[in-house]
């Protein structure tokens, strides 16, 4: 690699990671001021654990993310199977558009439109509306990940099973499902992190009593830098990075086995 290329990579990755590292470092700073290093301390983690509303919001976020990711994985897999191998059915173009639309649409539009629907049908805003919104968002990501894996499958495998007399359900359960399992797990993890991370859509569709972690963090950081939030951020970044690395690893394996 040329020296210029090496410099570009170092600067680029530095730009991507420096803010996160600064945040992590400050979470261990005994001083509350960003420009003063007061020595290593875990006091902000203590402050964080004693912060009742923040802990409650974290619990809401985890519950919503778990339910939304499960739903997104089931629906997204069904969508990917429906779209696989150019399968034809009435409204295919519209269907594909609807699957991927929430990925490209600005979040404020998704949030506003879902809220207007929930108000229109008289559904109380809270955990249920949060789960529906996040499942709809995650569905598209799952469909992409699972769809890529399905395209890499050898169609001879399912054809052979069918020739040997297995019904479509049996072919799916014994051949297709085990082969796409890593993509299902990766899709689930991505939908989970998306839900855990979302502020904008949640702000629209959530109601009193269902404040998610990003909503709580947002209301705090609007008031300025807050060391306890730095500690919370460090924990979230650690968790999400772990999930993202696992998902990347699982999708990366596909490329080699397919």
């Amino acid at each position: 690699m040329s020296p210029v290329g090496r410099l570009a990579l170092i600067l680029g990755l530095g730009f991507l990671y420096a803010p996160i590292l600064v945040l992590v470092a400050y979470s261990f700073n005994a001083s509350a001021l960003v420009t003063v290093w007061g020595g290593f301390s875990t006091r902000w983690y203590g402050v964080l654990l004693a912060d009742g509303p923040l802990m409650a919001a974290a619990l809401v976020s985890l519950r919503v993310a778990l339910a939304a990711a499960l739903l997104a994985t089931i629906l997204g897999t069904l969508a990917a199977l429906a779209l696989d191998h150019g399968r034809r059915f009435p409204g295919r173009g519209l269907f594909a558009g609807l699957v991927y639309a929430p990925l490209a649409m600005p979040e404020v539009i998704t949030g506003l439109s879902l809220l207007l629907l929930f108000v229109g049908i008289g559904l109380d805003r809270g955990l249920v509306t949060l789960v529906i919104a996040h499942a709809t968002l995650g569905l598209g990501f799952v469909a992409i990940v699972v769809g890529a894996r399905l395209r890499g499958l050898d169609p001879a495998l399912t054809a052979a099973a069918a020739d040997l007399g297995a019904g479509p359900l049996r072919v799916f359960a014994t051949i297709t499902l085990p082969l796409i399992a890593p993509a299902l797990v990766a899709g689930f993890l991505l939908a989970f992190t998306l839900s855990l991370d979302d502020l904008v859509i949640a702000s629209f569709v959530s109601g009193p009593g269902a404040t998610t972690l990003p909503m709580r963090i947002y209301s705090q950081v609007r008031l300025g830098v807050n060391p306890a939030i730095n500690a919370a951020s460090t924990l979230i970044v650690g968790l999400v990075t772990l999930l993202a690395l696992t998902a990347t690893w699982l999708t990366g394996r596909k490329a080699r086995t397919a």
Binding site: A101, S113, L117, G120
Partner: protein, 300 residues
């Protein structure tokens, strides 16, 4: 046997189709409808409401009551025009910045030793999955007047007075470039890593300098990646809310933020819906333009 398969084929899309119809298509139609309503101090806060019990007459009355006043407000009130122009301007500037910094990074990634590439690509992807809100929040501590950047610059004597960066458009541009860098680098990398290296070698053999090879051979061949990256960044940036809200201060107007404040602060749902339709039109234009060009290029 064949009938069960045909049945499965028909049923498979039904469940996700119903879900998407209910939670993507229907909400969009409701936004469209409410954008043509007038605000009211009622619950829900808008008129007209379609009354299903009215039958055909109800539909007639509903259609007559549709109102374009919200779009007139958008077209005539300077606030919304400025917000639209400022969204487009900031997104275009940030896209240009991203093209400038993303291209060398993607190029270096594609030319890195093969065994390092998966790790380096993962390093670019991971921040994309790591809490958007938190990564933007991290910049507040760096950019604020008594923040880290100013402290460093003052210490090394590059500036005598702290710079006012936070709550300006410069901070918004830094935030946009930071948050969307992976969206630019990854599609560019995908194209550059598959590029036929022999073309570059041929140019070099014929005496072209590395810079000349890059500008006359590599970059033109990377055009699909440049276009994909620019589109992937530009579209969501136009509707961005968190970055202008946390880094831009009260003076930075962007459509996503205007929609948010019309909805949450002014509680004007019809106007917020009209802003949503305007925003959707703006983000769909480049997407449709690209699709139609692809169709034309695909046709002989």
């Amino acid at each position: 046997m064949t009938t069960t398969r045909a049945l499965a084929r028909l049923l498979l899309p039904t469940i996700p189709f119903l879900w998407l119809g209910a939670f993507v298509l229907l909400p969009f139609l409701i936004v469209l409808k409410i954008s043509l309503s007038i605000p009211a101090t009622a619950q829900p806060p808008y008129l007209p409401v379609l009354d299903w019990s009215g039958g055909i007459d109800g539909w007639g009355a509903f259609l007559e009551a549709l109102d374009f006043a919200n779009y007139e407000t958008l077209a005539t009130d300077a606030l919304y025009r400025d917000a639209a122009l400022s969204s487009l301007g900031l997104a275009a500037t940030a896209t240009a910045i991203l093209l400038a910094i993303g291209t060398p990074i993607a190029h270096a990634l594609a030319r890195a030793p093969a065994r390092w590439q998966p790790l380096l690509v993962a390093l670019v992807i991971v921040p994309f999955w790591t809490s958007f809100l938190i990564r933007i929040y991290a910049w507040i501590a760096i950019l604020k007047t008594e923040g880290l950047l100013n402290a460093v610059l003052l210490r090394i004597g590059l500036i005598a007075q702290p710079l006012e960066i936070l709550n300006t458009q410069a901070a918004v541009l830094i935030g946009l470039a930071y948050a969307y860098l992976p969206f630019m680098v990854l599609p560019l990398y995908a194209v550059l890593s598959r590029l036929d290296r022999r073309l570059e070698e041929a140019a070099a053999d014929l005496g072209a300098s590395p810079t000349r090879v890059f500008w006359t051979v590599t970059l033109p061949l990377a055009r699909p990646g440049l276009a994909a990256g620019a589109l992937l960044c530009f579209v969501p940036m136009v509707g961005e809310f968190i970055i202008p809200d946390l880094l831009g201060g009260s003076d930075t107007l962007m459509l996503g933020r205007v929609l948010w404040s019309e909805f949450f602060s002014n509680r004007d749902w019809p106007l917020a819906s009209a802003v949503a339709i305007l925003l959707l039109g703006i983000v769909l234009t480049p997407v449709l333009f690209r699709e139609s060009r692809r169709h034309r290029e695909a046709a002989p």
